[in-house]
């Protein structure tokens, strides 16, 4: 394996992981906010 | 606080005198671990002799997990936790008491273990001052961390599996430092070992301090 392919692996794994984690947070947030009354999820920022 | 600590420690040691769990189960287990190491590392090669300090402290860590579990299973009985709160004992004192009783029992086991490795792994005793100091400081650290993590896991249904998982990574610095200090002592170069002793002392002080400060809120919960 060339050095560049290690680089794609080394960057790809973190980027994909962070993207998946972010997406999962957004999805979980959407699903949960349906169960919580609007009164209790007004974010101040 | 010290009065409460003495009371709790005396109580724990009295329970040990009456039940002899440490003497009749934990101590033989420690010796068994020494035998197992010999089976795993062929005793005729020099591996066993070279690894003696590390094997000693790994055995101590195994014993610690058992001793901590024993120490807090005592307090798990028949509403005892509530009774301790009702008695108005000082939480810091309870921590120090449990800590002291644990340290005394561990030290007894360690002395026997040390004799065991010297005999079985054919090492000569050297650097006694450093050995004794390391043993005291390391055991104080192990005892303080063990008491704190013991109460964190106490009373949970998953405590047997949770305790070693939480406690052993935290004791890694103790394992490293105590092993290196023992190595220098047994190899006859104690001056290399004293920085490790300092690290052990810092570890013990940090854990005793945090233990005294946080034990209150851990006893407080329902």
């Amino acid at each position: 394996m060339s050095d560049m392919s290690y680089m794609y692996l080394g960057w790809g794994v973190p980027l994909v992981t962070l993207a998946v984690y972010s997406a999962s947070l957004v999805v979980r947030g959407r699903a949960l906010s349906r169960k919580v009354p609007a009164e209790r999820r007004r974010w101040t920022s | 606080m010290l009065r409460d600590a003495r009371l709790i420690a005396a109580k724990d040691l009295r329970i040990e005198l009456r039940s002899k769990v440490t003497a009749s189960q934990i101590l033989p287990f420690a010796l068994l671990v020494l035998m197992l190491f010999a089976f795993a590392l062929d005793p005729d090669s020099q591996a066993l002799e070279r690894a003696t300090p590390g094997l000693f402290w790994v055995a101590v860590l195994f014993v610690t997990v058992l001793a901590v579990e024993r120490s807090f299973s005592l307090e798990g009985g028949d509403g005892v936790r509530d009774a301790l709160r009702l008695a108005g004992l000082e939480p810091g004192g309870v921590f120090l008491g449990k800590f002291a009783a644990l340290v005394v029992q561990l030290l007894v086991v360690e002395v026997v273990l040390l004799l065991g490795v010297l005999l079985l792994y054919s090492r000569d005793l050297a650097g006694v001052g450093l050995l004794a100091a390391t043993m005291l400081a390391a055991t104080a650290g192990i005892g303080a961390a063990g008491t704190l993590y013991g109460v964190l896991a106490a009373g949970l249904r998953v405590r047997e599996t949770l305790l070693p998982f939480l406690l052993l990574p935290v004791l890694a610095p103790v394992l490293i430092a105590a092993t290196r200090a023992f190595e220098s002592a047994l190899d006859g170069v104690p001056s290399d070992g004293w920085p490790w002793f300092n690290l052990l002392a810092v570890f013990a002080l940090v854990y005793i301090g945090i233990g005294i400060l946080t034990f209150g809120s851990l006893l407080e919960e329902s």
Binding site: M1, S2, D3, M4, Y6, M7, L9, G10, W11, V13, P14, L15, T17, L18, Y21, S22, L25, V26, R28, G29, R30, L32, S33, R34, K35, V36, P37, A38, E39, R40, R41, R42, W43, S45 | L148, L152, L156, R157, V158, L162, F165, L166, P169, V170, A172, P173, I176, A177, R180, P195, L199, V202, V206, I210, T214, S217, L218, E220, E221, S222
Partner: protein
């Protein structure tokens, strides 16, 4: 007795609440973080030349140390929030500590992965008992321990209090583990193999990309922490909603049995 449902029903249009964990600020933050990451990738792969000693491998060093930094940052946040929880007992501080630890675990894992991927072509092996790598692995185990304790099946107050004690211990543990591992390795070799094989001073672009990597990853970290916290907050809200209903059901038992009992009143909003 007013239930939260009653409140929201009475002001259906008066409340502007988002349908998720996003808000205007977090959206801006998200866009900025995404743009910064894009720019970082461009800087690392296109703008930067190969390093004289490291070759292409240097490109990973724009990411790896930044990930490690956020992992340590997460530990500090978790410990600070845990101290706050033990002092004040607020729900938010427990959620913040838990969010920081979970995120810290992700970042620590990624630090390990990137370090390992960098190490394979450099040293020829995936893992060496390098001081920094080893103490990062220990950090990962400590964080997993916190997450395991936070997952136990116990009363919420018990769980958060015990987790908070563990959180307070996080930073001291990290320092002690780090110190001991560092000394342990210096006995046999240099403390870390990472530092000595390249030379930053030579290029301003290297320096800039390196620092920009920290900024970009920290922005991503902040966005993630904000959203993770909000998810935790929503979970807490869902969990505490049962309370009003449960009290109502419990009261019904009493009313069913009594005919001339004194009616009990009292606010039970949390």
């Amino acid at each position: 007795m007013t239930t939260p449902q009653a409140i929201s029903a009475s002001h259906p249009a008066g409340v502007r609440a988002p349908n998720g964990t996003g808000s205007s600020v977090s959206r801006v933050l998200g866009v900025v973080a995404l743009a910064a990451m894009g720019l970082l990738v461009w800087l690392a792969f296109v703008a930067s030349p190969r390093d004289a000693i490291q070759g292409d491998l240097v490109r990973l060093l724009f990411l790896h140390p930044a990930l490690a930094w956020t992992a340590y940052l997460a530990c500090f946040i978790a410990t600070a929030a845990s101290i706050q929880h033990l002092r004040k007992g607020t729900v938010g501080s427990d959620i913040l500590a838990h969010s920081a630890v979970e995120l810290g675990a992700v970042m620590t894992l990624l630090t390990l992965v990137t370090g390992s991927v960098w190490g394979r072509p450099t040293w020829g092996v995936w893992w060496v008992w390098d001081a920094r790598l080893t103490s990062t692995a220990m950090l990962f185990l400590l964080l997993l321990g916190y997450l395991a304790l936070h997952r136990i099946d116990a009363a919420p107050e018990v769980r958060s209090k015990r987790s908070a004690v563990l959180g307070v211990l996080l930073v001291p543990n990290v320092l002690l583990v780090h110190q001991s591992v560092e000394w342990w390795r210096t006995l046999h070799q240099d403390a870390t193999l990472l530092d000595r094989q390249f030379d930053f001073g030579t290029s301003d672009l290297f320096m800039f990309t390196m620092i920009f990597g920290f900024v970009a990853v920290t922005l991503v970290f902040s966005w993630l922490l904000l959203h993770r916290f909000r998810v935790g907050w929503l979970e807490h809200q869902v969990e505490s909603e049962w309370l009003d209903e449960a009290i109502e059901a419990r009261r019904a038992e009493a009313h069913a049995e009594s005919h001339d009992g004194t009616p009990t009143t009292g606010g039970v909003a949390r």
